[in-house]
Amino acid sequence: MLRAGPPRKRRAANSLFCYWNHNFRGLKNVADFEIPALKEYPVIPLIQVGSMAHSKPFVAKPDHQDAVGFPHELVDNWEEKAVKKLGELVQGSRALQVFLDACVKCGACTDKCHYYLGTSDPKNMPVARQDLLRQVYRRYYTFAGKYFPWLVGARDMDKEVLDDWYSYFHQCSQCRRCSVFCPYGIDTAEISMAAREVMDSVGLGQKYCNEILGKVYTIGNNLGLPEPALRNTLEGLEEEVKEDTGVDVRFPLDEKGADVLLVTPSADFFAEPHVDGLIGYGKVFHQAGISWTMSSYASEAGNFSMFIGSGANLKKTTRRIREAALDLGVKRLVVGECGHAWRVAYSFWNTLIGPFDFLDPKYPAPQHICEVTHDLIQRGALTLDKEANDHRIITFHDSCNVARASRMGNMPGGQFVIPREIIKSVANHFHDMAPDTIHESTYCCGGGGGLLTDDLIELRIKGALPRVEALKQVVDEHGVNFMAAICAICKSQFTKVIPYYDFPMEMIGSLHQLVSSAIQLKTKE
């Protein structure tokens, strides 16, 4: 193995002063850990044992746990209960059992995880992460582990194991890159979800995910954006687009009888650069003459229940979307730019909230906004001026849940082709990143799977390393100045972390932001 160069020393005081002359690039000065150096070509780092053992997200408070139906704090006899829960999960999922039984320690996965590549901690090698759970499974549920634990790496469930679980199962973004390279297809994401479900069930939850799920139940979205605020925000967007284009593009809310219900991540309402994508969806619907609406009741596409492996919560959150669709009487369900939402929608909705016999059978149910836009472009329904994006030299980041857990269109790999075809239809300058970092080999942004929280910022920055190295290559070779994404988490994560690597946050944007720039609204009025 090649050795990585010594990390650049960038320790500095963990404080800022206002009006500090920063050009969106100076953030590295505020980190109190070392920012990895960007290398010219990928290097597999030598291991640094325990280098990320300190990384743990904030623990959920009792009221966060209440919302998702888990105990307030670590319960009595939690060891026994955790083992029992693990047994139930293995019993209930043939896949999980195969993943735990099948590993032959071939090592193919060891250098495939962005968190290992960014942190050098050997417990971030996928096989080692799996083994944290596998050692307990073996001890209690296999013959060899019950009688000869020392022979098979089996171990009792104890506090030390639990601490390791809490730390390292929150250093997995469930991106499934490792599973692409595993000869058995072992999916570490499933193991990580199971571990989080076991921890939740004995009263050890993660604050970020569980607090957010509570907001979905009480308010309708991850942000906690109530209906009046949502309406106010959307009205503001209508004014903004009118000022920019002179055209009355609508952003309708709770309009019964619309054809399309758009379900999108609430970050699209709230944050930059996400909101420019939402404006793009609105312009597409407007020019195509499609009547559409959003719902204040189901104002969230994201579904953090998947991240915590909770089937019960997954069903409960998803049901809101079916209820809204029926209540509003829509004929189509369209999902906005959100990676894990599209996985849940594409792979699980039919089982969770189907059948969709009340929708128009002429359209896929659900349909991704990229499929909608791509289809309209194919049919010549949109007037697009590519030159409007001539100031941008664009690359595309495949989001993990779209790339490896779903599809778009009607052909294998459609999830890779369709977004790129859209970009090439709305812009003249597009360059892909290196082949082993895109499509099904795409690197996670470093913030997926319920890790997009400030208490994990060190992990997020380090985990972004492989993606940022690939980005740097196209920046150096082609002058790329815009990386489009179709996931709210990716957009927020990159906006936050790439300044630590000396890239400006403005170079991250929505795919539909590019569509928004190119679309010529007045031509089809």
């Binding site: 404080s15 009006y19 953030l27 957010i212 942000l223 109530p226 009046p228 605020a229 925000t233 503001g236």
Partner: protein
Amino acid sequence: MTLEVAGKSFETDEEGYLANRDDWNKDVAEAMAKLDDCELSDNHWEVINFLREYYDEYQIAPAVRVLTKAIGKKLGADKGNSKYLYELFPYGPAKQACKYAGLPKPTGCV
């Protein structure tokens, strides 16, 4: 966690956001800013006051475009953009300004 201001202590969460919004006063905001080596100018206060007014009406901090538009109206069009807000609040306007305004931290994919 607690924040000590003028002999009184205020409960905060792990990241220093006030646990009880009613505890907020200007001294609390100044004290929080001081912990970040930040001195609050009139323009900071325009943002903080707008956040508090908006929260009172809508029970949530304003979306970024709502905020930039409002600040543009108050401080001039050249300041109605997120670049300016990041100059004021380098940790990110949504989070840092919410903290000083005594509001909860925005959650979700932001």
